[in-house]
């Protein structure tokens, strides 16, 4: 299973290296979302400052949607899904591999986006540990839930529209949790943030377990 996961993750990251989609397109998009929000909320700077953690995570979420769509569209082209089913790779391995690749890309994105926020919105950053742990846990949740529901949507002509529909309500708790944790960290009271991290941990575990077991049946039906 682990071997299969690494094989798949390696393949996905190599695809990214060769096509540079995440680097050239998702990242600028994320920055763009930040700028757009700044526009939409502009007149009131105080408002912007207070809303920063929420906007950061909304931006991450929308970018994650793009990264996930890319990760899945790669598998649904021209019979690749069948090829995967025939390959004898462990479905759980495929799932973990894809989660790993997406999470890696998201992690890079989050760091860069964080720098972007700090600069654009002039936010003072405190509570590093909490921030880092929140990022890790939230990223795992997003990647796991995203890959799972991505496969629900994949292979259908309506994939591009169905994925957001399924994913956004599911990721809402992650959005809230990560936002609250960030707020706590930035407000200098990390102890209020940790329960949220725990909650997201539960969520991430739920989706990883669901993925490990559910990915097989999902991959099944073309």
């Amino acid at each position: 299973m682990l071997r299969d996961a690494l094989l798949i993750a390696g393949k996905d990251l190599r695809l990214e290296l060769r096509s540079r989609v995440a680097l050239n397109q998702v990242l600028p998009f994320a920055l763009l979302v930040l700028v757009l929000f700044a526009f939409a909320l502009d007149p009131d700077r105080g408002l912007l400052a207070r809303a920063t953690p929420g906007l950061y995570w909304v931006a991450v979420l929308f970018s994650a949607l793009l990264a996930l769509q890319r990760s899945l569209s790669v598998e649904s082209a021209d019979g690749n899904r069948d090829a995967l089913r025939l390959s004898g790779l462990d479905p759980a391995g495929i799932f973990l591999g894809k989660v790993l690749a997406v999470a890696t890309q998201l992690a890079v994105l989050e760091v860069l986006l964080g720098v972007g926020v700090a600069v654009l919105y002039t936010t003072r950053i405190t509570g590093w540990v909490l921030l880092a742990v929140t990022c890790v846990v939230a990223t795992a949740s997003i990647a796991a839930a995203g890959t799972l529901f991505g496969v629900v949507a994949a292979g259908l002509r309506v994939r591009e529209t169905l994925l957001p529909l399924l994913l956004l309500p599911v990721l809402a708790p992650v959005l809230i949790g990560a936002t609250r944790a960030f707020e706590a960290a930035l407000a200098g009271s990390p102890s209020e943030g940790w329960p949220w991290v725990g909650l997201m941990g539960v969520f991430a575990s739920l989706y990883i377990v669901a993925g490990v077991f559910g990915f097989g049946p999902l991959l099944e039906e073309s």
């Binding site: 190599r14 060769r18 790669v74 021209d78 019979g79 025939l86 390959s87 004898g88 099944e220």
Partner: protein, 228 residues
């Protein structure tokens, strides 16, 4: 047809009885009976929409058997159609390649996924004439026939026990066609079994030991296991 080889009295590789398979609600297979002995090359012929592709995909364990009994390589497809998948090799109408990876990357990835060695991948590339300039060209840049060749290379590298080929000659040039025939003959010599669909009768009839004609989702003619 090739001069017939005496059929060894072994268990059939494929055994179907009244197999019905649905695409949506449409019974693309409407009761197929078929028996294929080991090491045979069987040609599947029939009009467009007769159900050839559906039959091959069902045998590969990709489509559920809705009614009837089906055993492939000793695996009961009704009970567990996943168990057979890694033992068959399917060449479909679609190629299953990653557009943004190079030919070499693709063949190596699918070979490793099927548990083959890096060496097998290399040999397959050489065999299909992809080891030169094309090795490092992205698959999206290939011509139709080169794409088919890459897909064939992936298949060869995994050395399946049962080859299911959907119009394997389509898109290939003369050399490619001859090469396919050679590869299939070698495979049966090495103990594998081959089922191929084709609309190119001249060539395929030469290649095949046996011909099965389907129409409207049922077998309408079968030269049979014992036919010459």
């Amino acid at each position: 047809m090739r001069p017939s080889v005496p059929v060894p009295p072994t268990e059939a590789v494929i055994r179907l009885r009244g197999v019905v398979a649905l695409l949506g609600r449409f019974p693309a297979l409407a009761g197929i009976d078929l028996e294929v002995a080991p090491r045979r090359i069987v040609l599947l012929r029939g009009a467009n929409g007769a159900g050839k592709t559906t039959l091959l995909r069902t045998l590969a364990g990709l489509i559920a058997v809705a009614e009837g009994q089906a055993t492939v390589l000793g695996v009961d497809l009704v009970a567990d159609r996943r168990a057979v998948r890694h033992r068959v090799g399917l060449l479909g109408h679609a190629t299953g390649l990653y557009d943004d990876l190079t030919v070499g990357d693709n063949v190596r990835f699918w070979a490793r996924a099927a548990g083959a060695e890096a060496d097998d991948a290399e040999q397959a590339l050489v065999r299909l004439g992809l080891a030169g300039r094309l090795r490092s060209v992205a698959v999206s840049r290939l011509s139709a026939g080169q794409r088919r060749r890459t897909s064939l290379a992936c298949l060869i590298a995994r050395r399946p026990e049962l080859w299911l080929l959907d119009e394997p000659h389509a898109g290939l040039d003369q050399d490619g066609r001859d090469l396919v025939d050679t590869i299939l003959r070698e495979a049966t010599a090495a103990g594998a079994t081959v089922l191929l669909s084709s609309h190119e009768l001249d060539r395929s009839l030469q290649l095949a030991d046996e011909v099965v004609t389907i129409a409207g989702g049922v077998v309408v003619a079968d030269t049979g296991m014992s036919a010459p």
